[in-house]
Protein backbone atom coordinates (compact mmCIF):
# COMPACT_ATOMS: atom_id res chain seq x y z
CA UNK A 1 0.00 0.00 0.00
CA UNK A 2 1.29 3.36 -0.90
CA UNK A 3 -0.56 5.26 1.72
CA UNK A 4 1.48 4.15 4.67
CA UNK A 5 4.60 5.51 3.05
CA UNK A 6 3.36 9.06 2.92
CA UNK A 7 4.36 11.25 5.80
CA UNK A 8 6.73 8.61 7.11
CA UNK A 9 10.14 9.70 8.20
CA UNK A 10 12.73 7.83 6.27
CA UNK A 11 15.44 7.15 8.67
CA UNK A 12 18.18 4.73 9.25
CA UNK A 13 20.27 3.86 12.17
CA UNK A 14 22.81 1.17 12.47
CA UNK A 15 22.73 -1.00 15.45
CA UNK A 16 25.10 -3.51 16.82
CA UNK A 17 24.40 -5.65 19.73
CA UNK A 18 26.59 -8.21 21.13
CA UNK A 19 26.24 -11.07 23.38
CA UNK A 20 28.52 -12.97 25.62
CA UNK A 21 30.90 -10.81 27.39
CA UNK A 22 32.40 -12.33 30.47
CA UNK A 23 30.20 -10.12 32.62
CA UNK A 24 27.13 -9.64 30.55
CA UNK A 25 26.06 -7.59 27.69
CA UNK A 26 26.91 -4.64 25.54
CA UNK A 27 24.73 -3.19 22.96
CA UNK A 28 25.31 -0.09 21.10
CA UNK A 29 24.04 1.92 18.29
CA UNK A 30 24.95 4.88 16.36
CA UNK A 31 22.91 7.97 16.25
CA UNK A 32 20.25 7.95 13.62
CA UNK A 33 20.22 10.25 10.71
CA UNK A 34 16.83 11.37 9.62
CA UNK A 35 16.73 12.59 6.13
CA UNK A 36 14.13 15.28 6.53
CA UNK A 37 15.06 16.53 9.94
CA UNK A 38 17.60 16.06 12.63
CA UNK A 39 15.51 17.07 15.60
CA UNK A 40 15.60 13.61 17.13
CA UNK A 41 19.33 13.24 17.06
CA UNK A 42 20.13 13.87 20.70
CA UNK A 43 17.59 11.27 21.77
CA UNK A 44 19.08 8.34 20.00
CA UNK A 45 17.47 5.08 19.05
CA UNK A 46 18.23 3.03 22.15
CA UNK A 47 15.30 2.81 24.48
CA UNK A 48 15.45 1.11 27.85
CA UNK A 49 12.44 -1.18 28.00
CA UNK A 50 13.13 -2.49 31.44
CA UNK A 51 16.10 -1.57 33.60
CA UNK A 52 18.28 -4.26 32.03
CA UNK A 53 16.56 -4.80 28.69
CA UNK A 54 17.06 -2.48 25.75
CA UNK A 55 15.51 -2.32 22.33
CA UNK A 56 17.26 -0.88 19.32
CA UNK A 57 15.07 0.46 16.57
CA UNK A 58 15.51 0.94 12.87
CA UNK A 59 12.94 1.78 10.25
CA UNK A 60 10.07 4.16 10.87
CA UNK A 61 10.60 6.05 14.14
CA UNK A 62 6.87 6.35 14.70
CA UNK A 63 6.28 2.64 14.18
CA UNK A 64 9.16 1.43 16.30
CA UNK A 65 8.40 3.85 19.10
CA UNK A 66 4.78 2.76 19.14
CA UNK A 67 5.83 -0.89 19.32
CA UNK A 68 8.44 -0.21 22.00
CA UNK A 69 5.92 1.78 24.07
CA UNK A 70 3.43 -1.08 23.99
CA UNK A 71 6.06 -3.61 25.01
CA UNK A 72 7.37 -1.34 27.75
CA UNK A 73 3.85 -1.04 29.14
CA UNK A 74 3.25 -4.79 28.96
CA UNK A 75 6.55 -5.57 30.65
CA UNK A 76 5.76 -3.16 33.47
CA UNK A 77 2.42 -4.91 33.92
CA UNK A 78 4.19 -8.25 33.92
CA UNK A 79 6.61 -7.13 36.63
CA UNK A 80 3.83 -5.91 38.88
CA UNK A 81 1.49 -8.86 38.31
CA UNK A 82 4.02 -11.63 38.83
CA UNK A 83 6.37 -9.85 41.20
CA UNK A 84 9.43 -10.73 39.15
CA UNK A 85 11.33 -8.86 36.47
CA UNK A 86 10.63 -10.00 32.92
CA UNK A 87 13.43 -11.81 31.09
CA UNK A 88 14.95 -10.77 27.78
CA UNK A 89 13.01 -13.61 26.16
CA UNK A 90 9.73 -12.19 27.40
CA UNK A 91 10.54 -8.81 25.89
CA UNK A 92 11.67 -10.42 22.65
CA UNK A 93 8.50 -12.53 22.47
CA UNK A 94 6.33 -9.44 22.89
CA UNK A 95 8.19 -7.47 20.25
CA UNK A 96 8.03 -10.41 17.88
CA UNK A 97 4.29 -10.82 18.30
CA UNK A 98 3.62 -7.17 17.49
CA UNK A 99 6.03 -7.06 14.56
CA UNK A 100 4.74 -10.32 13.09
CA UNK A 101 1.02 -9.72 13.37
CA UNK A 102 1.27 -6.16 12.05
CA UNK A 103 3.89 -6.83 9.41
CA UNK A 104 1.84 -5.27 6.63
CA UNK A 105 1.46 -2.05 8.58
CA UNK A 106 4.89 -1.67 10.16
CA UNK A 107 8.29 -0.76 8.91
CA UNK A 108 10.26 -1.87 11.93
CA UNK A 109 13.49 -3.78 12.34
CA UNK A 110 14.39 -4.30 15.95
CA UNK A 111 17.09 -5.71 18.14
CA UNK A 112 16.33 -6.73 21.71
CA UNK A 113 19.21 -7.03 24.12
CA UNK A 114 19.09 -7.69 27.80
CA UNK A 115 20.61 -9.14 30.88
CA UNK A 116 19.02 -11.27 33.56
CA UNK A 117 20.83 -13.35 36.17
CA UNK A 118 19.41 -16.68 34.98
CA UNK A 119 20.08 -16.35 31.25
CA UNK A 120 22.98 -13.88 31.25
CA UNK A 121 23.34 -11.44 28.38
CA UNK A 122 21.23 -12.20 25.33
CA UNK A 123 20.61 -10.64 21.95
CA UNK A 124 17.60 -11.17 19.72
CA UNK A 125 17.04 -9.80 16.25
CA UNK A 126 13.61 -9.15 14.75
CA UNK A 127 13.95 -8.20 11.09
CA UNK A 128 11.20 -6.80 8.85
CA UNK A 129 8.90 -9.81 8.47
CA UNK A 130 8.68 -10.32 12.24
CA UNK A 131 10.76 -13.46 12.66
CA UNK A 132 12.77 -13.93 15.86
CA UNK A 133 16.44 -14.83 15.78
CA UNK A 134 18.68 -15.45 18.75
CA UNK A 135 22.16 -14.27 17.90
CA UNK A 136 25.64 -13.82 19.30
CA UNK A 137 25.61 -10.29 18.02
CA UNK A 138 23.04 -8.52 15.93
CA UNK A 139 23.42 -5.73 13.43
CA UNK A 140 20.72 -3.80 11.65
CA UNK A 141 19.93 -0.55 9.90
CA UNK A 142 21.37 0.92 6.71
CA UNK A 143 24.99 1.00 7.87
CA UNK A 144 24.95 -2.63 8.90
CA UNK A 145 25.48 -3.95 5.37
CA UNK A 146 28.90 -2.30 5.36
CA UNK A 147 30.10 -4.10 8.48
CA UNK A 148 29.02 -7.72 8.01
CA UNK A 149 32.64 -8.50 7.15
CA UNK A 150 34.09 -6.52 10.04
CA UNK A 151 31.80 -8.12 12.58
CA UNK A 152 32.27 -11.65 11.26
CA UNK A 153 36.04 -11.26 11.30
CA UNK A 154 36.35 -9.55 14.68
CA UNK A 155 33.73 -11.17 16.88
CA UNK A 156 35.07 -13.84 19.20
CA UNK A 157 33.51 -16.08 21.81
CA UNK A 158 33.92 -14.94 25.40
CA UNK A 159 35.14 -11.37 25.02
CA UNK A 160 35.59 -9.20 28.10
CA UNK A 161 33.48 -6.09 28.61
CA UNK A 162 36.27 -3.86 27.33
CA UNK A 163 36.80 -6.02 24.25
CA UNK A 164 33.07 -5.96 23.63
CA UNK A 165 32.89 -2.19 23.82
CA UNK A 166 35.81 -1.88 21.42
CA UNK A 167 34.27 -4.38 19.01
CA UNK A 168 31.02 -2.45 18.90
CA UNK A 169 32.76 0.90 18.62
CA UNK A 170 35.05 -0.35 15.87
CA UNK A 171 32.13 -1.74 13.89
CA UNK A 172 30.16 1.47 14.21
CA UNK A 173 33.10 3.58 13.13
CA UNK A 174 33.34 1.53 9.96
CA UNK A 175 29.64 1.92 9.32
CA UNK A 176 29.85 5.67 9.82
CA UNK A 177 32.79 5.80 7.47
CA UNK A 178 31.23 3.89 4.59
CA UNK A 179 27.51 4.49 4.89
CA UNK A 180 26.37 7.85 3.58
CA UNK A 181 23.21 7.60 5.68
CA UNK A 182 25.07 6.97 8.92
CA UNK A 183 26.88 9.60 10.93
CA UNK A 184 27.01 11.55 14.16
CA UNK A 185 27.75 10.18 17.58
CA UNK A 186 28.03 6.66 18.92
CA UNK A 187 25.66 5.78 21.71
CA UNK A 188 26.13 2.58 23.59
CA UNK A 189 24.57 0.88 26.56
CA UNK A 190 26.31 -1.87 28.51
CA UNK A 191 23.92 -4.21 30.31
CA UNK A 192 25.37 -6.37 33.06
CA UNK A 193 24.46 -7.62 36.53
CA UNK A 194 25.34 -4.12 37.71
CA UNK A 195 22.64 -2.56 35.57
CA UNK A 196 22.65 -0.42 32.44
CA UNK A 197 25.61 1.89 31.83
CA UNK A 198 25.40 4.38 28.97
CA UNK A 199 28.36 5.39 26.87
CA UNK A 200 28.76 8.27 24.43
CA UNK A 201 31.52 8.69 21.85
CA UNK A 202 31.92 11.81 19.74
CA UNK A 203 33.57 12.32 16.35
CA UNK A 204 35.23 15.45 17.87
CA UNK A 205 38.01 13.32 19.36
CA UNK A 206 37.93 10.39 16.96
CA UNK A 207 35.31 8.51 18.97
CA UNK A 208 37.51 8.14 22.05
CA UNK A 209 35.22 9.80 24.54
CA UNK A 210 33.63 10.97 26.71
CA UNK A 211 32.58 7.32 27.26
CA UNK A 212 30.63 6.76 30.47
CA UNK A 213 31.31 10.18 31.98
Amino acid sequence: MDMRKTGMLNEDGIHIDMDHLKKGEVNADRELRIQERTAERPLGPTLPIESRISSLRSGSAADTQAVADIVQYNLEQFGVEYDMPPTTQTAAAMFQELCYHNKDRLSAGMIIAGYDPRHGGQVYSIPLGGSLHKQSYAIGGSGSTYIYGYCDANWREGMTEEEGVNFVKGALQEAIKWDGSSGGVIRMVVLTAKGAVRHLYLPDNGYTGPGTK
Binding site: H20, Y124, S136
Partner: protein, 290 residues
Protein backbone atom coordinates in the same frame (compact mmCIF):
# COMPACT_ATOMS: atom_id res chain seq x y z
CA UNK B 1 -26.45 -26.76 62.32
CA UNK B 2 -29.19 -24.30 62.94
CA UNK B 3 -30.31 -22.89 59.66
CA UNK B 4 -30.18 -19.16 59.92
CA UNK B 5 -30.66 -18.20 56.29
CA UNK B 6 -27.07 -17.12 56.03
CA UNK B 7 -26.31 -20.26 54.10
CA UNK B 8 -28.56 -19.40 51.18
CA UNK B 9 -26.40 -16.92 49.35
CA UNK B 10 -22.81 -16.95 48.35
CA UNK B 11 -22.16 -13.27 48.84
CA UNK B 12 -23.52 -13.06 52.37
CA UNK B 13 -21.45 -13.64 55.47
CA UNK B 14 -22.98 -15.17 58.58
CA UNK B 15 -22.68 -12.97 61.70
CA UNK B 16 -19.73 -15.05 62.86
CA UNK B 17 -17.88 -14.47 59.58
CA UNK B 18 -18.50 -17.64 57.63
CA UNK B 19 -19.47 -18.19 54.04
CA UNK B 20 -21.67 -21.25 54.32
CA UNK B 21 -21.81 -21.89 50.58
CA UNK B 22 -18.07 -22.37 50.56
CA UNK B 23 -18.29 -24.72 53.52
CA UNK B 24 -20.97 -26.78 51.77
CA UNK B 25 -18.75 -26.94 48.72
CA UNK B 26 -16.05 -28.37 50.94
CA UNK B 27 -18.54 -31.04 52.01
CA UNK B 28 -19.00 -31.99 48.36
CA UNK B 29 -15.26 -32.45 48.12
CA UNK B 30 -15.22 -34.66 51.18
CA UNK B 31 -17.40 -37.15 49.30
CA UNK B 32 -15.13 -37.39 46.29
CA UNK B 33 -12.60 -40.13 45.61
CA UNK B 34 -9.24 -39.55 47.26
CA UNK B 35 -6.75 -37.58 45.17
CA UNK B 36 -3.14 -37.03 46.10
CA UNK B 37 -0.03 -35.37 44.76
CA UNK B 38 3.56 -36.03 45.76
CA UNK B 39 6.40 -33.64 45.04
CA UNK B 40 9.51 -35.78 44.63
CA UNK B 41 13.06 -34.62 44.11
CA UNK B 42 12.98 -35.38 40.39
CA UNK B 43 9.31 -35.05 39.55
CA UNK B 44 5.69 -34.98 40.65
CA UNK B 45 3.16 -37.81 40.92
CA UNK B 46 -0.59 -37.33 40.82
CA UNK B 47 -2.94 -40.15 41.76
CA UNK B 48 -6.66 -40.54 42.24
CA UNK B 49 -8.99 -43.21 43.54
CA UNK B 50 -11.63 -43.41 40.84
CA UNK B 51 -14.71 -45.01 42.37
CA UNK B 52 -16.49 -47.31 39.91
CA UNK B 53 -20.09 -46.14 39.93
CA UNK B 54 -21.36 -48.67 37.42
CA UNK B 55 -20.24 -51.95 35.94
CA UNK B 56 -21.47 -50.62 32.61
CA UNK B 57 -18.58 -48.17 32.38
CA UNK B 58 -15.59 -49.26 30.34
CA UNK B 59 -12.53 -49.72 32.53
CA UNK B 60 -9.69 -47.28 31.92
CA UNK B 61 -11.89 -44.59 30.40
CA UNK B 62 -13.36 -41.36 31.78
CA UNK B 63 -10.00 -40.13 32.97
CA UNK B 64 -9.93 -37.92 36.02
CA UNK B 65 -6.42 -36.51 35.76
CA UNK B 66 -6.12 -33.91 33.03
CA UNK B 67 -3.21 -32.47 31.10
CA UNK B 68 -3.30 -28.68 31.08
CA UNK B 69 -0.08 -27.95 29.24
CA UNK B 70 2.83 -30.18 28.27
CA UNK B 71 4.29 -29.82 31.74
CA UNK B 72 1.24 -29.37 33.96
CA UNK B 73 -1.34 -31.85 35.22
CA UNK B 74 -4.45 -31.39 37.34
CA UNK B 75 -6.43 -33.81 39.47
CA UNK B 76 -9.52 -32.91 41.46
CA UNK B 77 -11.82 -34.38 44.00
CA UNK B 78 -15.50 -33.53 44.35
CA UNK B 79 -18.03 -32.76 41.67
CA UNK B 80 -16.62 -34.12 38.43
CA UNK B 81 -18.24 -31.55 36.11
CA UNK B 82 -16.87 -28.73 38.26
CA UNK B 83 -13.47 -30.31 37.90
CA UNK B 84 -13.89 -30.41 34.14
CA UNK B 85 -14.75 -26.72 34.02
CA UNK B 86 -11.75 -25.96 36.20
CA UNK B 87 -9.50 -27.89 33.82
CA UNK B 88 -10.91 -26.04 30.85
CA UNK B 89 -10.11 -22.74 32.54
CA UNK B 90 -6.63 -24.00 33.40
CA UNK B 91 -6.04 -24.88 29.74
CA UNK B 92 -7.16 -21.42 28.69
CA UNK B 93 -4.77 -19.84 31.17
CA UNK B 94 -1.88 -21.98 29.97
CA UNK B 95 -2.51 -21.35 26.29
CA UNK B 96 -3.03 -17.62 26.73
CA UNK B 97 0.28 -17.47 28.59
CA UNK B 98 1.91 -19.26 25.69
CA UNK B 99 0.33 -16.87 23.20
CA UNK B 100 1.49 -13.83 25.11
CA UNK B 101 4.84 -14.85 26.62
CA UNK B 102 5.73 -17.65 24.15
CA UNK B 103 6.95 -20.02 26.85
CA UNK B 104 5.40 -22.60 29.19
CA UNK B 105 3.51 -21.11 32.13
CA UNK B 106 5.34 -21.59 35.46
CA UNK B 107 3.44 -23.92 37.82
CA UNK B 108 3.35 -21.27 40.56
CA UNK B 109 1.72 -18.77 38.21
CA UNK B 110 -0.96 -21.09 36.88
CA UNK B 111 -1.75 -22.02 40.50
CA UNK B 112 -2.04 -18.37 41.44
CA UNK B 113 -4.24 -17.53 38.47
CA UNK B 114 -6.54 -20.48 39.11
CA UNK B 115 -6.65 -19.65 42.80
CA UNK B 116 -7.95 -16.21 41.89
CA UNK B 117 -10.46 -17.75 39.51
CA UNK B 118 -11.87 -20.11 42.14
CA UNK B 119 -12.00 -17.30 44.70
CA UNK B 120 -14.16 -15.20 42.36
CA UNK B 121 -16.85 -17.86 42.64
CA UNK B 122 -17.18 -17.11 46.35
CA UNK B 123 -18.01 -13.45 45.89
CA UNK B 124 -21.27 -13.26 44.01
CA UNK B 125 -24.77 -14.37 44.82
CA UNK B 126 -25.30 -15.33 41.19
CA UNK B 127 -22.76 -18.17 41.29
CA UNK B 128 -21.95 -21.06 43.53
CA UNK B 129 -18.42 -21.96 44.58
CA UNK B 130 -16.49 -24.80 42.95
CA UNK B 131 -17.38 -28.19 44.41
CA UNK B 132 -13.81 -29.38 43.96
CA UNK B 133 -10.45 -29.21 45.62
CA UNK B 134 -7.80 -29.38 42.96
CA UNK B 135 -4.21 -30.53 43.02
CA UNK B 136 -1.92 -29.02 40.39
CA UNK B 137 1.39 -30.67 39.61
CA UNK B 138 3.99 -29.32 37.23
CA UNK B 139 7.63 -29.31 36.27
CA UNK B 140 9.26 -26.01 35.36
CA UNK B 141 12.24 -26.48 33.10
CA UNK B 142 15.52 -26.21 34.96
CA UNK B 143 17.23 -25.46 31.66
CA UNK B 144 17.03 -22.30 29.64
CA UNK B 145 14.14 -22.50 27.22
CA UNK B 146 14.02 -20.89 23.80
CA UNK B 147 11.20 -18.51 23.00
CA UNK B 148 8.54 -20.68 21.28
CA UNK B 149 9.37 -20.82 17.57
CA UNK B 150 12.71 -19.01 17.88
CA UNK B 151 15.57 -19.81 15.53
CA UNK B 152 19.29 -19.28 16.07
CA UNK B 153 21.22 -20.00 19.21
CA UNK B 154 23.71 -17.31 20.20
CA UNK B 155 27.31 -18.05 21.21
CA UNK B 156 28.40 -21.69 21.31
CA UNK B 157 29.74 -21.28 24.84
CA UNK B 158 26.42 -19.86 26.01
CA UNK B 159 25.60 -16.43 27.33
CA UNK B 160 28.00 -14.56 29.60
CA UNK B 161 27.34 -13.06 33.01
CA UNK B 162 25.03 -15.78 34.26
CA UNK B 163 24.60 -16.15 38.00
CA UNK B 164 25.65 -19.80 38.23
CA UNK B 165 24.48 -20.09 41.82
CA UNK B 166 20.88 -19.56 40.71
CA UNK B 167 18.73 -22.66 40.61
CA UNK B 168 15.62 -22.40 38.51
CA UNK B 169 12.74 -24.68 37.73
CA UNK B 170 11.96 -28.06 39.25
CA UNK B 171 8.86 -29.74 40.61
CA UNK B 172 5.80 -27.76 41.73
CA UNK B 173 2.73 -28.94 43.63
CA UNK B 174 -0.24 -26.80 44.64
CA UNK B 175 -3.70 -27.44 46.05
CA UNK B 176 -6.67 -25.10 45.60
CA UNK B 177 -9.73 -25.35 47.86
CA UNK B 178 -13.28 -24.20 47.07
CA UNK B 179 -12.63 -20.95 48.93
CA UNK B 180 -9.85 -20.13 46.49
CA UNK B 181 -7.27 -20.72 49.20
CA UNK B 182 -4.15 -22.32 47.79
CA UNK B 183 -0.74 -23.30 49.07
CA UNK B 184 2.29 -25.03 47.67
CA UNK B 185 2.78 -28.49 49.18
CA UNK B 186 5.36 -31.25 49.48
CA UNK B 187 2.48 -33.69 49.49
CA UNK B 188 -1.21 -32.92 49.05
CA UNK B 189 -4.34 -34.96 49.61
CA UNK B 190 -8.05 -34.33 49.25
CA UNK B 191 -11.30 -36.26 49.01
CA UNK B 192 -12.73 -39.02 51.17
CA UNK B 193 -9.51 -40.55 52.35
CA UNK B 194 -7.57 -37.32 52.84
CA UNK B 195 -7.00 -37.78 56.58
CA UNK B 196 -5.41 -41.20 56.15
CA UNK B 197 -3.55 -40.04 53.05
CA UNK B 198 -2.17 -36.95 54.77
CA UNK B 199 -0.95 -39.12 57.62
CA UNK B 200 0.85 -41.38 55.17
CA UNK B 201 2.29 -38.43 53.23
CA UNK B 202 3.69 -36.95 56.43
CA UNK B 203 5.52 -40.20 57.13
CA UNK B 204 7.40 -39.84 53.82
CA UNK B 205 9.32 -36.78 55.07
CA UNK B 206 8.97 -35.18 51.67
CA UNK B 207 10.49 -31.92 52.90
CA UNK B 208 13.90 -33.63 52.88
CA UNK B 209 13.72 -33.81 49.09
CA UNK B 210 15.10 -37.33 48.96
CA UNK B 211 12.15 -39.33 47.65
CA UNK B 212 12.68 -40.25 44.00
CA UNK B 213 9.96 -40.15 41.39
CA UNK B 214 9.90 -43.95 41.04
CA UNK B 215 9.55 -44.35 44.81
CA UNK B 216 6.91 -41.63 44.65
CA UNK B 217 4.87 -43.68 42.18
CA UNK B 218 4.99 -46.71 44.50
CA UNK B 219 4.05 -44.59 47.51
CA UNK B 220 1.22 -42.84 45.68
CA UNK B 221 -0.31 -46.17 44.71
CA UNK B 222 0.09 -47.48 48.23
CA UNK B 223 -1.47 -44.39 49.80
CA UNK B 224 -4.51 -44.54 47.51
CA UNK B 225 -4.98 -48.19 48.46
CA UNK B 226 -4.53 -47.46 52.17
CA UNK B 227 -6.93 -44.54 52.05
CA UNK B 228 -9.56 -46.56 50.20
CA UNK B 229 -12.45 -47.58 52.41
CA UNK B 230 -13.67 -51.04 51.42
CA UNK B 231 -16.74 -50.81 53.58
CA UNK B 232 -18.05 -47.74 51.75
CA UNK B 233 -16.95 -48.32 48.16
CA UNK B 234 -16.39 -51.67 46.60
CA UNK B 235 -14.47 -51.09 43.41
CA UNK B 236 -12.09 -48.39 42.36
CA UNK B 237 -9.55 -47.79 39.66
CA UNK B 238 -6.20 -46.24 40.39
CA UNK B 239 -5.31 -43.50 37.95
CA UNK B 240 -1.81 -42.12 38.10
CA UNK B 241 0.22 -39.57 36.15
CA UNK B 242 3.72 -38.21 36.54
CA UNK B 243 6.00 -35.43 35.40
CA UNK B 244 9.77 -35.64 35.46
CA UNK B 245 12.57 -33.30 34.43
CA UNK B 246 14.18 -33.36 31.00
CA UNK B 247 16.46 -36.27 31.91
CA UNK B 248 13.70 -38.26 33.61
CA UNK B 249 11.27 -40.81 32.18
CA UNK B 250 8.73 -38.28 30.86
CA UNK B 251 11.23 -35.69 29.57
CA UNK B 252 9.42 -32.80 31.20
CA UNK B 253 5.96 -33.82 30.05
CA UNK B 254 2.87 -34.67 32.07
CA UNK B 255 1.98 -38.25 31.16
CA UNK B 256 0.14 -41.25 32.43
CA UNK B 257 2.31 -43.62 34.42
CA UNK B 258 2.94 -46.57 32.06
CA UNK B 259 0.50 -49.44 32.68
CA UNK B 260 3.26 -51.87 33.56
CA UNK B 261 4.74 -49.63 36.23
CA UNK B 262 1.32 -48.80 37.62
CA UNK B 263 0.37 -52.45 37.86
CA UNK B 264 3.64 -53.17 39.64
CA UNK B 265 2.95 -50.36 42.08
CA UNK B 266 -0.59 -51.63 42.63
CA UNK B 267 0.67 -55.13 43.28
CA UNK B 268 3.14 -53.79 45.83
CA UNK B 269 0.38 -51.66 47.37
CA UNK B 270 -1.94 -54.67 47.76
CA UNK B 271 0.88 -56.69 49.25
CA UNK B 272 1.66 -53.93 51.75
CA UNK B 273 -2.01 -53.84 52.72
CA UNK B 274 -2.18 -57.59 53.19
CA UNK B 275 0.95 -57.37 55.32
CA UNK B 276 -0.77 -54.84 57.51
CA UNK B 277 -3.82 -57.05 57.83
CA UNK B 278 -1.71 -60.02 58.80
CA UNK B 279 -0.02 -58.00 61.49
CA UNK B 280 -3.42 -56.94 62.78
CA UNK B 281 -4.66 -60.49 62.61
CA UNK B 282 -1.68 -62.00 64.37
CA UNK B 283 -2.01 -59.48 67.19
CA UNK B 284 -5.54 -60.71 67.70
CA UNK B 285 -4.32 -64.27 67.52
CA UNK B 286 -6.70 -65.17 64.70
CA UNK B 287 -5.80 -67.09 61.60
CA UNK B 288 -6.76 -65.64 58.30
CA UNK B 289 -8.79 -67.73 55.98
CA UNK B 290 -7.29 -67.93 52.54
Amino acid sequence: MVRTGYDLSNSVFSPDGRNFQVEYATKAVENGGTAIGIRCKDGVVLAVEKIITSKLLKPGTNKRIATVDKHVGVVSSGLVPDGRHFVSRARDEASSWRRFIKSPIPTSIIASRLGSYVQMYTLYSSVRPFGVTTIIGGWDSEEELPVDGQVGSGPKMGAGGKDESLRSGGPGLYMIEPSGLYWGYYGAATGKGRQVAKGELEKLNLQNGTLSLLEGVKEAARIIYVAHDDSKDKDFELEMTWISGKDGPTKGRHEEVPAKLREEAEKAAKKALEGEDEEDDSSKGDKMEE
